[in-house]
Symmetry: C2
Subunit: 333 residues, 2 copies
């Protein structure tokens, strides 16, 4: 399969774009550790747990490289990046309460270790910390983007919860959900980075278009991997989304498939999620060409993202953003 074929290229690519060794991200990581060590007691333990669980730090990366397109590195840019990751961490903690998830990045989730009540407070603390950092640097534009992102994430999570097990879910509704849940935060990270460097309004729009499409591509890939990826790589129990009734793009296509639609609908409505049935669903997704269809959509969003970048002046940070988009297409976790 094409996806698998390209895996070796990804590894190479990963070698070139070695996130851990990007100096600005090292600074972000050091600042995140400082933020956590400034707290104490149970709050500190929860924050340490979520920080040490790691993650790709895509959001601070987007803030920084979107900003670097428009100027030299600055404390404002770095602090916007730190705030973006704190907001992401807070939203992960709260999402795990909403979804009742026991695992996050191969480790027990905050709610499973400390209970929902403490997890609510841990998330609130990190949201507040993020706004404190932005306020102390007078980064009100960055703040407005982060507010937009948080409100969208809340709306997205609610759409998702209300649409569980709904076999009438359309592709349009799916897009609304993943935009709110994931892509708008990525868009806002890019915009906040550019705004921290005083980019012009139309430049902020362009980089936002890049972030939005990157986010859509990212989430569609995430949904494909949940069905067809390895749980060792994703850090989440495989096919958990489907078991929870979350209707993602491959499932929407399968529901519309003549040979499989009725059968899949009855499986979902009757919640017959034994391993055997789920394997059959995944196999049908592969055999009917639905997976390629989904990856075509991913590619289209990546193309759109990269096209937004075309209008910006050539630079090293623009090149990184361009390659980052390619990496989403071939990511395995």
């Amino acid at each position: 399969m094409e996806i698998i074929k390209e895996q070796s290229e990804v590894r190479q690519y990963n070698g070139k774009l070695d996130f851990k060794n990007i100096p600005e991200l090292k600074q972000v990581e050091a600042d995140l550790i400082k933020v956590v060590s400034d707290s104490c007691g149970t709050i500190r333990n929860m924050c340490t747990h979520i920080l040490e669980a790691g993650g790709k730090r895509i959001r601070p990366l987007l803030v920084i490289y979107s900003g670097l397109v428009y100027g030299e590195n600055s404390p404002e840019l770095l602090q916007t990046a730190v705030a973006s990751e704190l907001i992401h961490m807070a939203s992960l903690i709260h999402d795990d309460i909403v979804d009742n998830s026991a695992l996050r990045r191969n480790r027990p989730s905050i709610n499973s270790l400390w209970g929902n009540n403490f997890a609510v407070l841990g998330g609130d603390y990190l949201f507040a910390k993020a706004f404190g950092i932005l306020a102390s640097r007078r980064l009100t534009s960055g703040m407005e983007y982060m507010v937009e992102a948080i409100q969208s994430m809340c709306v997205g999570e609610i759409i998702q919860a209300e649409d569980r097990f709904n076999c009438e879910c359309t592709l349009e509704k799916y897009y609304e959900k993943i935009a709110c849940k994931t892509a708008i935060l990525l868009k806002c990270c890019c915009q906040a980075g550019a705004a921290a460097q005083n980019a012009a309004a139309e430049e902020i729009d362009l980089i936002g278009e890049y972030g939005l499409n990157l986010g859509l591509a990212f989430q569609i890939t995430d949904d494909i991997l949940d069905l067809c990826g390895s749980s060792e790589l994703t850090g989440k129990p495989k096919r958990e989304d489907l078991r929870q009734g979350i209707i993602s793009m491959p499932i929407i296509y399968l529901l519309g498939n003549k040979a499989n639609g009725q059968w899949v609908k009855s499986v979902i409505e009757q919640r017959q999620f034994d391993d055997d049935t789920i394997s059959k669903i995944c196999s049908a997704i592969t055999k009917t060409g639905i997976m390629e269809k989904c990856y075509d959509r991913v590619r289209a969003h990546i193309d759109k993202a990269q096209k937004s970048l075309d209008k910006l002046p050539d630079s090293y940070p623009k090149d990184i953003l361009y390659r980052l988009a390619d990496m989403v297409y071939v990511r395995m976790n």
Copy 2:
């Protein structure tokens, strides 16, 4: 009893300080309704529910009158007041998850109606909205005070949860808890109001000292009312705090009382909270003079709050703040 004797005076006082007819608070209320109507779906339903539950709007009142001490009314002051109430509403929604409360102001709580998962998102949405309002007006000082307040509330809720049923709880720890949980937000409201009017640092400190002591007095009174107040007036099930193992000032004094200490300790440790036992505890609090002792503490904080005001120039808003402090002493709900 002195408290009861003063009740009729309160009513009169309430007549003079008729919150509902304060023009600035009417404007705040109109803006809160607008904020809620800007949202949609389940978020809107949750926000409408918490808004319609009412409340005394003490926090916006503190923002506004603290600000009016230092200058004419302004859109910045009003918006800071709106943000303070949104933050309070968000924290109420999240606290009800933390405490697993079924009632809030005599109505079912958000978590009991929509579940914990939606309640988490409803609170997040309101927090974000509050910061959005402050960011759009570039009110970064107000934002820093609100961040401090949210972080304190998180810490306070965690101290409270970790100290449930702990009969070794000291008065010092109790003060730390109520400062974090309640008083620091009131302090920050006063400071944010003064800062919105560009008051000087030492003026902001003074008005903060007022807010902090008002908040301590307010929470101690709240804890007394939970044990000895009427649930019809407070809107919360009476003595619920004690049943949940929350050790408040009257209980700390009772635990230190020779005649009752050991007995109360065993009741709490064995969680024997039948109506009869709780009635005996309340009766002991009254008979041993503990209630007066607690109200003496309330009075001391009110005196301290009013003393902070003495250093400010005489004005109508200062007079209102002064009288507001007196009202806490005699409040019945």
